[in-house]
């Protein structure tokens, strides 16, 4: 089943990998904004909750010829999202008016098919009750409900911010948002301006122009998921790695053999 987007707004993100230094601002800002819980001490890394996760990716070289970039990976908000296809309880759905792929935790029954289906490993499961140190629940964002144990969750382009921006615009009698009125937390926090966000259909946001540049690419584009998160790098090895990692791992590109990612 193909999901046809009908709205006139199509939110998208462009991440410039040459600017990203892996400072982690985006990961922390995301967790603070979206009440992403901290697993208990000594929990395994694969029990982590990171709606935005920065991976270090290298060209497979050895010291000192190794090159490395940091790749922030949120949910890719695919136009043809595999997670939507597989969810048996319709807990994942695309907002046709914005193109944002949302997760409804109240519907989720925790089967984790969506996690298996997502080729970007951008979905996370609540293995634990969301617990904060005593008193720290007072620092939770009231616009975002904490999720319960046993459900999957993921990036939703800070939908709480979108709701706030829409309410503010409505209070002023407007329906449309100005580009600066709605920016996800990661894009706001990035100190290097590596993460840019906007409406692909709004020329004022400049996002569409960026996606058409020759250094722009999408992760695993050959899968046909049509992600709305775009990446940019002037390094051809980064683009090759991002677009079709399978080719690299099969050794078709001998110069890039052994390249890989680690979080």
């Amino acid at each position: 089943m193909k999901h046809k987007r009908t709205g006139d707004v199509r939110y998208s993100m462009v991440i410039d990998l040459d600017r990203c230094t892996g400072c982690g601002d985006c990961m922390v800002a995301c967790a603070v904004e979206n009440n992403v819980a901290v697993p208990p001490p000594a929990a395994q890394e694969n029990r982590s909750l990171t709606w935005m996760k920065v991976y270090r990716v290298d060209n497979g070289g050895t010291f000192p010829d190794r090159q490395e970039v940091c790749v922030p990976i949120p949910c890719q908000h695919c136009d043809h999202a595999p997670c939507i296809e597989v969810c048996p309880v319709t807990a994942v759905e695309m907002d046709e008016s914005t193109g944002i792929v949302g997760q409804v935790p109240e519907r989720c029954m925790g089967c984790r098919y969506c996690m298996a289906a997502c080729p970007y490993h951008a979905r996370y499961f609540n293995w634990f009750d969301p617990v904060w140190p005593e008193g720290m629940e007072q620092t939770l964002n009231p616009d975002v409900s904490p999720r319960m144990r046993g459900v999957a969750e993921k990036c939703n382009f800070c939908h709480g911010r979108l709701d706030r921006a829409r309410e503010n615009a409505a209070a002023e009698g407007r329906r449309d948002l100005e580009p600066h009125e709605y920016v996800p937390a990661c894009a706001e926090a990035c100190p290097h301006g590596a993460i840019r966000f906007g409406d692909l259909n709004d020329p004022r946001s400049g996002i569409a122009d960026l996606t058409r540049r020759p250094e722009a690419f999408r992760l695993l584009a050959s899968l046909g998921t049509e992600p709305k998160v775009h990446y940019m790098s002037r390094h051809s090895w980064v683009r090759q790695l991002g677009e079709s990692r399978l080719t690299v791992l099969r050794g078709k590109d001998k110069t890039r053999k052994g390249a890989g990612a680690h979080g």
Partner: protein
């Protein structure tokens, strides 16, 4: 109707088939999952009106502007202040987690002392009078014995109005020592003082106007300011106007990987590299011979000979940098003027070393960078009527020379090597009392802790840190009420004085502290220089014509004063001779900083390099959300992970992600070995933070790493030697 066996089975089968295709079982499944997932202990979000407040972050010395979102009385998140002059509109992960610090698990709920029943490893609540009484008795005892030289107060963030309160306390007591703990940036700034007469001005890198930046291991893009990048460099990168960046560093750090050129020199050979760079620049005609002669005839005797000796070819044997590569760098620098050379060390790895700092400052002087736009600005610190008291370095006082040490850790973020403070105390009958909101960080080794408000709960002030690009001054308007048991640090100092039987003069400490803050504002208003950034308007205005009252109002709204950068008072003059008691300046490191004697190298075959980010290094209070970076991912290396080159690891029989024992001449540590191609062969890298042990995380702590690196006993600990032995299952 007869009910037959057949009809019953048909009905049952039909009912079962019909139920499966009906919504009923799926709805039950769904509801069951919701019932089993929702429990009363799941956190509820706060409710109330949403407001914004503006303040300044004090979790490290960078002093970034924060825009705090409050729900009712609760600060729920902190964000960067757009346009803020000192942070360039960005804030590091530490600052983003600032709202959580108020509720940190290490926050103390009252005065605490060591619980000796548990061997002193844990804390127990005690009475404030008990702690004040113990400290007061010690003060009285030292006064009556005429031994006030054995009393000291350690100020971990000097230059604040509170620093003047420390001096007042010592004045009231009638003596005692005022101590600070200079970091690599402070020591770098003081090294310039040896070479030129700065006229009381302090240096700062003008990265806004630099054409090329040559960094000697400085983590400009990964932890130089807060846990984030240098704000000016980040701003220029955002604007697509980044200067040409040369990183001279052994390992492939983030800064090295993003630099236009990375010179991966052998560890500890920065001095030779700087001398060879001077040689190459002279050969390329970028540096006048007269400038080298002037340094040689003045503060650096023998400098001309050293520059002549260390040609790129001669240095290559020491540094490992091929001569053509160094000459290419010199040509690059000629194309990207003005050039500034940056040192100051790594916040976690500690100072670079005085000889290395001299060599780097000499390069700045040769290139005429000091006092020139796009180089090193020399400026006066914001006028402070009460002045910073004359300070001694904690490292310079003899071991065992103190009986009472008061540690003001009300502003966290300083790397305090474990064991350093305790080593200065006498072995018998001494007392260390911390003023802190947390039972961790700098006061981890204290005997007693008096609780003060956490960052964001009290009005403090923030001055620019050493080597910052511009002078700045701000207040930290509180965004939350202090918890009931916390007391203002100045009130606690009054309490100690009163317990010692000394009069306090009537006015409470907090009121006197606020009077000092107002005095500073009055001095700024009187000077009428610089600009004031108003966060509510998001723009700066001239400070000229602003009254002290108006300025005070703006500061209470989170304003920040800046001097606008640039040098004041013209270029400095070279000193005529080296300081008394110092030799030519390059005795030790000219052949490479020694990391161990030959006999030690056999037992400890690896070079240990410790590193870390500002605010996250050493024993520190880390917001829980930072586990996203160091436990839930490996974006930041945590203290328990020893990274070394895969080739080195294989040659030592060390497997990836396997436990190993790391030994140094200072101690032993259980680590996890991580193969990392970004580490130079022969080197093992350990991070001195972030410290998540306060969150209950098992494994080595930052204190363990610094101890193993000898940071408590050595002023320079960035290089050492170590051995790794895999732990067999």
């Amino acid at each position: 109707m007869d009910v037959t066996r057949r009809s019953f089975i048909k009905f049952s089968a039909g009912f079962a088939a019909g139920t499966i295709v009906s919504p009923l079982p799926w709805k039950l499944l769904d509801d069951a999952s919701i019932w089993s997932q929702n429990w009363p202990w799941i956190a509820r979000t706060p409710h109330g009106p949403v407001t914004l407040a503006h303040t300044t972050c004090t979790l490290c010395a960078a002093g970034c502007g924060l825009r705090v979102r409050l729900v009712g009385p609760h600060p729920v998140s902190a964000w960067s202040e757009p346009g803020h002059p000192t942070s360039g509109g960005s804030v590091c992960p530490l600052g983003l987690g600032a709202a959580q610090v108020r509720y940190h698990p290490l926050r103390i709920r009252g005065p605490v002392c060591r619980d000796l029943r548990g061997g002193g490893a844990t804390w127990r609540l005690t009475g404030r009078d008990e702690v004040l009484g113990a400290a007061g008795r010690k003060v009285a005892e030292l006064r009556s014995a005429g031994a006030l030289g054995r009393l000291a107060i350690l100020d971990l963030r000097p230059g604040r109005a509170l620093s003047a309160m420390h001096r007042e306390f010592l004045d009231r007591v009638g003596g005692g020592r005022y101590l600070t703990l200079p970091d690599g940036r402070d020591l770098s700034a003081s090294a310039l003082d040896e070479l030129v007469d700065t006229g009381g001005r302090v240096p700062g890198y003008d990265l806004a106007g630099a054409g090329a930046v040559v960094s000697f291991g400085t983590p400009l893009l990964d932890g130089w300011c807060g846990a984030g990048p240098d704000p000016e460099l980040a701003r220029r990168r955002r604007a697509g106007d980044a200067p040409f960046l040369v990183q001279i560093e052994s390992n492939a750090s983030t800064t090295a990987l993003h630099a236009d050129r990375w010179l991966h020199l052998r560890p500890g050979t920065e001095t030779v590299q700087a001398l060879a760079l001077a040689h190459a620049a002279r050969a390329a005609g970028m540096v006048p011979a007269a400038a080298i002669r002037a340094l040689d005839a003045g503060p650096l005797p023998g400098y001309a000979d050293l520059v002549r000796t260390w040609s790129p070819e001669a240095a290559a044997g020491i540094t490992g940098i091929p001569a053509p590569e160094l000459r290419a760098v010199a040509r690059d620098l000629a194309r990207h003027r003005p050039v500034v050379f940056v040192a100051g060390g790594d916040p976690g790895g500690g100072p670079l070393g005085q000889e290395e700092e001299r060599a780097v400052w000499a390069l700045n002087l040769l290139f005429g960078a000091v006092g020139r736009p796009g180089g090193v600005a020399l400026r006066h610190r914001p006028d402070a009527p009460n002045g910073a008291p004359a300070a001694e370095s904690m490292r310079d006082i003899p071991d065992g020379s103190l009986d009472l040490l008061l540690v003001d850790a009300s502003a966290p973020g300083t790397v305090v090597p474990p064991g350093l403070l305790r080593s200065k105390l006498a072995s018998d009958g001494s007392l260390m009392v911390g003023l802190s909101a947390f039972a961790g960080g700098a006061v981890s080794g204290a005997d007693m802790i008096l609780p003060v408000p956490a960052p964001g709960e009290w009005l403090d002030d923030v001055t620019d840190q050493a080597l910052a690009s511009q002078g700045s001054y701000a207040w930290t308007p509180p965004v939350a009420d202090p918890l009931p048991w916390a007391r203002h640090p100045a009130d606690l100092l009054d309490g100690v004085a009163e317990a010692a039987g000394l009069a306090t003069g009537g006015t409470r400490g907090k009121a006197r502290h606020e009077a000092h803050l107002r005095d500073r504002i009055a001095a700024l208003a009187a000077a009428g220089q610089g600009q004031v950034f108003e966060p509510k308007k998001g723009k700066a205005r001239s400070a000229r014509g602003l009254s002290a009252r108006e300025l005070g109002r703006l500061f209470r709204e989170g304003a920040c004063w800046v001097d606008g950068g640039g040098s004041r008072g013209g270029p400095p003059s070279l000193r005529k001779a080296p300081p008394a008691g110092r030799g030519p300046g390059f005795e030790t490191a000219a052949g490479g900083r020694p990391t161990a004697a030959d006999n030690e190298q056999a037992a400890l075959p690896l070079i240990l390099m410790i590193h870390g980010q500002q605010g996250l290094s050493g024993p520190a209070v880390v917001p829980p959300v930072l586990t996203k970076l160091c436990r839930e991912s490996h974006l930041l290396p945590d203290p328990g992970r020893a990274r070394l080159n895969p080739a080195t690891a294989r040659s030592h029989g060390l497997g990836h992600e396997l436990p190993a024992d790391l030994s140094t001449s200072h101690g032993r540590l259980r680590v996890t070995v991580v193969h990392d191609e970004n580490v130079m062969p022969g080197v093992v890298r350990l991070a001195a933070g972030p410290d998540t042990d306060g969150l209950g995380e098992p494994g080595p702590t930052a204190a363990d790493v610094l101890s193993a690196g000898g940071a408590g006993s050595n002023a320079v600990w960035r290089l050492g030697r170590a051995a790794l032995q895999e732990v067999k299952a």
